[in-house]
Symmetry: C2
Subunit: 547 residues, 2 copies
């Protein structure tokens, strides 16, 4: 028995483009003698289609795709993720389904049972719950079909939810010979291991192999890492597709293959997730060129490296925007980096414009300008010039803010918060340094000077981030505790050995900066909790602010 | 039997402030001889608390509030909305509940049965479903307690959902003498009538009166209009609280009161919703002063009127920002309006800065600037100056973009899209004019010249909106059809008597502008479908873009 798990990268709503990928794979699978072909969850539309699902025309078009796919499934069992109209009187009008074709016929649908509605998932907004057991026979094997979350309750690894049904237990008495799982399971730091644990637990309980086919590619803020996998009936990981690329995982169940080594390349995977996030944001929208403000600091340096890996150096333009407060070294460092990356660097001095604003506003206010005004002016002039380059040349501005500053509101709205996509908004400052060291692992790309100097916004003389923020090795672990792990202030204070009022002050600042984040560019999610749709908090509220 | 429905305006997460309101009302109710006191849904925390619900400390604090409330309920039946930990093994860890006190004891909880998860609602993210029937006896009456959506399935007026249970039918055989409904039902244009229809249908089926207590006040983008109501057993509307203010609705069931006239003051309610949206955004965050860019156009004129009604004229500052393309009339019109409103008007000419940018960028690009760059520069200089005023004086910038331009992307990111709150982003251009005429209903406040001239961004010579956009009397109805009513392109083309490709072109533009709206200030929702969390569409997608 030979299975091909097609780890594809669909574009949301691109029904024709996604169909081409599906048909290509089916022809390839047939050519290679595959018996089973497995696609990811909602492969026809891409995941997550969000409110496009409420457009009846898209659902009908998706259902029509199945008729195009059907003739290409002859001689095989083919399982494809597709949204469909709920055929019974369910609470919602759709199901998140797997169309099951056997030998050129559409023989049925498995409808997803467990519908995640937490964090970045909102499936109960759209879908009715399907029955937990779906089995199909093929070449004498009893094959169970499950969709993503359906396997997760069994390991108690779902978020904020305890489903009343565990499809794995429901399948137990059916004694399947193989479990297929269609997934669209997004990446976050060190996620791969969890996904394997989920499959392993199901395999052990059901005493049969599990093959999970995961979507790959970035859709808006979510990066799907692929890493499709085959786990044997002992729960051992036998094969895994690569991460962050389209790939066919070909499994020969009869062949004797030793369990593979489970690698967790945390930082490398993180870097590749960010590269893919940028690449797909551009590519899927038809943009090719990026512009970046290169300050000589570590965040913009890393962003430039990621952009070059995603788009190619010839497509990346850097602009240095020095003011009276910028050190000469900053420009030299930026120039050195641009040179090493082979990207064009332009220099536009902002001091003339800055002075013009100072003069005009001083006379308008008839009072000295506050330091807030003076600092924001510089950041906003930079934002304006970068946007002018973006508008003039049809390139997209990449935002370079990191998660630590996003959390604390240490950013200027319409200034350094400008951009089409925020590359590092889910990467804390400490991890920015880790990623820079990863970039430099073979040779020094990012100049040592950039990594060694104290972080500074250079908006006033001798300014450093630590004038305003706690040291990052204190701040970042607390941010992780509070935002990602949801720890209480008491726990954080005890575990991190800092005062309660210190933690309270930090979390208060996080909540006060919510209004800035709401207008920030969309960011690439790479942790359990990013500042995106996975974290829905009010701007106007007194709970978080008071704490 | 005397009931007091306490139409309160809670602040999200302000447990102490909300508690003070609740205790004040309980004392007042006791003083006035009330037998029953009814509060809105989640009155303890305010609605919607969003992910603050995931903070265990807030839930515990909310539950503790009940102990503070309890002693004040002596001699009465008191029903208060509160989130609580789900006491059974429900799918989610919380319930959206009503705490029921009788004679100084907490005698039980009604847990909301129908959990809306569509449009702006995401209750299945947090809550488990409670049983449909909850009855309590008081002074010989059998009283059913329901929470908001619980009544709506009976009228088939819920969105995108068909619940498997109808709590009204479940209550029918219990023959209640009275139905209480705790609501947090947000305003949109002409919503009041629908809410009455829902109560009327339940009253007729159950042959008993229904009292609905609705939250009032704005929380982020949602405005709750109040309009709490008492409907008799024939389904006639007998009493209604006013809209957009805190009020006690006092019902004497034994008294003979004639059904009241059901008024629908569409435009007046819309205006008041916008005023309340601004007032609460400022007041609940502790801000008092607003700054507005006054262009001499109709959108900023209306925004200034709303701001004056919300905050008082002395708290509103207007800035005129003319350039070489601004007509002299524009400034004169702005000055006339400022004079009539009694607000301070400052003039800051942007032409010097504009020229400085043109010079510097022309030399940086070594090519002529595109018209996109030239137009965006002006909008962004204005945004920067307005933000400088906001930063210098600690006032909030109000954004003045209307829904028609937001839909079409006829706005400049970081330019006219700057601001803390967008007042008109859910108000189409035609309705902006209607609201202006409402403002001028008694005397001319907004100068006639502002209402009569052709809308223009004044970013190039003799520019008008209609150079780029279809006439608003063509555009706005199509926007309403597509965005609010979810009509298909075919239906719109036929009904509006325009070509399919014209509608297709418009909807494509709507989707292409999604990235701008994602970075726009939060807006006040006043229609069935605003560009806020109620409409979740991907930025990177090909379905809507292709259409």
């Amino acid at each position: 028995m030979k299975l091909l798990a097609a780890q594809v990268n669909p574009t949301i709503g691109d029904l024709e483009g996604n169909e081409r990928k599906i048909l290509d794979i089916l022809r390839r699978a047939k050519g290679s003698g595959a018996d089973i072909v497995l696609f990811p969850e909602l492969a026809v539309t891409g995941y997550p289609p969000e409110d496009l699902l409420l457009d009846g025309a898209m659902i009908e078009a998706a259902e029509r795709q199945l008729e195009v796919i059907r003739p290409e499934t002859k001689g095989m069992l083919v399982v494809v993720g597709v949204p469909r109209r709920c055929p019974w009187k369910g609470e919602k009008f759709l199901c998140n389904s797997a169309a099951v074709f056997r030998g050129g016929e559409l023989i049925g649908f498995k409808d997803k049972t467990l519908l995640p509605t937490y964090d970045v998932f909102d499936e109960k907004r759209y879908f009715s719950e399907g029955a937990p057991v779906f089995l199909v026979e093929h070449l004498g094997w009893r094959i169970a079909v499950t969709i993503c979350e359906d396997l997760w309750q069994h390991s108690n690894l779902v978020g904020y939810t305890r489903y009343g049904v565990d499809p794995v237990m429901a399948l137990k008495e059916e004694r399947p010979d193989l479990v297929l799982n269609l997934s669209a399971s997004p990446y976050y730091f060190k996620r791969k291991e969890t996904r394997w644990l989920v499959c392993s637990a199901a395999a052990k309980t059901l005493e049969c192999p599990v093959v999970l086919c995961n979507q790959v590619g970035a859709n808006d803020q979510l990066v799907f890492d692929g890493h499709s996998l085959y786990c044997n009936q002992k729960g051992e990981l036998v094969q895994s597709a690569r991460g962050f690329v389209e790939e066919d995982l070909v499994v020969e169940f009869d062949a004797h293959v030793c369990p593979c080594v489970r690698e967790e390349n945390g930082i490398q995977d993180l870097y590749r997730a960010l590269v893919l996030g940028v690449k797909d944001y551009f590519g899927k929208q038809g943009f090719s060129h990026a512009v970046i403000g290169l300050s000589g600091g570590v965040d913009s340096a890393l962003t430039a490296c990621i952009a070059c890996d995603a788009l190619g150096a010839s497509k990346v333009k850097a602009i240095a925007l020095p003011s009276r407060y910028s050190s000469l070294e900053s420009y030299a460092d930026a120039a050195c980096l641009a040179d090493r990356l082979g990207i064009e660097l332009k220099k536009v001095d902002i001091d003339g414009l800055f002075q013009e604003y100072l003069d005009q506003l001083s006379s308008a206010f008839q009072r000295p300008l506050t330091s807030l005004v003076v600092e924001n002016l510089q950041a906003r002039i930079r934002g304006m010039i970068l946007m002018a380059f973006s508008n003039q040349e049809g390139s997209l501005l990449l935002n370079t803010s990191n998660k630590s500053e996003m959390a604390m509101g240490y950013t200027t709205l319409y200034g350094d918060l400008c951009g089409g996509l925020s590359v590092l908004s889910d990467v804390t400052k400490l991890r920015v340094y880790e990623l820079c060291h990863f970039v430099n692992r073979k040779e020094e790309i990012i100049p040592k000077a950039i990594l060694q100097k104290a972080p500074s916004a250079e908006l006033r003389p001798n300014q450093t981030d630590q004038d305003t923020l706690p040291p990052f090795d204190v701040l970042d672990p607390i941010l992780e505790d509070y935002l990602e792990k949801g720890r209480s202030l008491e726990e954080i204070s005890t575990e991190r050995n800092v005062s309660f009022s210190f933690v309270q002050g930090l979390t208060r600042q996080i909540h006060l900066a919510e209004y800035k984040r709401r207008q920030a560019p969309m960011g690439i999610r790479v942790t359990q909790k990013a500042f995106t749709k996975g974290r829905v908090v009010p701007i106007v509220q007194k709970w978080g602010e008071k704490k």
